[in-house]
């Protein structure tokens, strides 16, 4: 799966405007990141990429690139 496709799938699940996640945002600057969005990100990563992410890992993320970094080599450019 490409990074682009993953972000679009995340937007659909989070019900935010298509294309609104550019991929380089700070999580403090976006209006959609909260505890439920974090749980949703974990579910999408699990279902789409079979990657298990812990709450501890997510708590350390400060930006969208940090989130994508948790997905390792499962995403292609």
């Amino acid at each position: 799966m490409t990074t682009y496709d993953f972000l679009r799938a995340l937007e659909i699940t989070l019900e935010i405007d298509p294309g609104s996640i550019a991929g380089n945002e700070s999580l403090d600057d976006v209006g959609w990141w909260d505890s439920m969005a974090a749980l949703t990100f974990m579910a999408v990563a699990d279902e789409q990429l079979q990657v298990t992410i812990s709450g501890e890992q997510l708590a350390k993320c400060k930006s969208v690139p940090d989130l994508l970094g948790l997905l390792g080599d499962k995403l292609t450019a």
Binding site: S35, M36, L39, T40, M42, A43, S54, G55, A59
Partner: protein, 252 residues
């Protein structure tokens, strides 16, 4: 001197017995003289649990409650070997922490089968002629999540609150047959399931959950003590109710 909690010689079946509240309950009941039937899916974990019990006459039964259709026949055959069963504790369960927007019908099915379907099939099996002793007690382990809500836990809460209401109907239906039915609703207890929740939520969020327990997180033994009370003759006039054991979580 008397011990009103004495369970000497009584056969008590415990599901989810290989870890957490189920294991702590099995150990405590064995210390009071009961013969325990440990029930869980994983044979290796059952084998590890069995030596932790005190006394003799215990046995381990591997059974997957996710397919509860076979429970009544299994209990009939089991009681033919153990003798009448005086108590049944349903501890087996699973948790799903998922926001509604990613919750699937399959997630709900998994929870309801292991919690609701299994509990009803266990009660159906237990009430059969010859399976239970003259005075029987069923204890369903629900949760404070069956009494209050939490984001991301709607399916889990539904599966647990179903046990609380189910116990009332079962209590009315089974009283003429000498069977009492009650629930114990624990708060958050230090079990492998709590570690699963921590993995999902993170330690910071779990710390906030602990702060909602005026007495802190519980230990499995704290819940086992309430289950013990509901199995012993100490509770012979109690049926159809839910005992909350939550360190004050629902006092807010």
């Amino acid at each position: 001197m008397i011990n009103p909690l004495d369970l000497t010689g009584r056969v008590i079946l415990v599901t989810g017995a290989s870890s957490g509240i189920g294991l702590a309950t099995s150990i405590l009941l064995s210390q009071l003289g009961a013969r325990i039937v440990l029930v869980a899916r994983n044979k290796d974990r059952l084998a590890a649990a069995l030596p932790q019990l005190e006394g003799t006459g215990h046995r381990a039964e591997s059974f997957d409650l996710a397919t509860p259709e076979g429970v009544p026949g299994w209990l009939k055959a089991l009681s033919a070997e153990t003798g009448p069963i005086s108590g049944l504790v349903h501890c087996a369960g699973a948790q799903v922490i998922r926001p509604l927007r990613v919750l699937t019908s399959q997630d709900i099915d998994v929870l309801l089968k292991l919690s609701v379907n299994a509990a009803l099939m266990l009660a159906k099996g237990f009430r059969q002629k010859g399976v239970h002793s003259a005075s029987g007690s069923i204890v369903l382990v629900s949760s404070v999540m069956g009494l209050v809500g939490a984001p991301g836990r709607s399916a889990y809460c539904a599966s647990k609150s179903a046990l609380n209401s189910m116990a009332k109907s079962l209590a009315l239906e089974l009283a003429p047959e000498g069977i009492r039915v009650n629930c114990v609703a624990p708060g958050f207890v230090r079990t492998p399931m709590l570690h699963e929740a921590e993995a999902t939520l993170g330690s910071e969020q779990l710390r906030r959950v602990e702060e909602m327990h005026p007495l802190g997180f519980g230990d499995p033994r704290d819940v086992a003590n309430a289950i013990m009370f509901l199995l012993a003759d100490t509770s012979r006039w109690i049926t159809g109710t839910t005992i909350v054991v939550d360190g004050g979580y629902t006092a807010h």
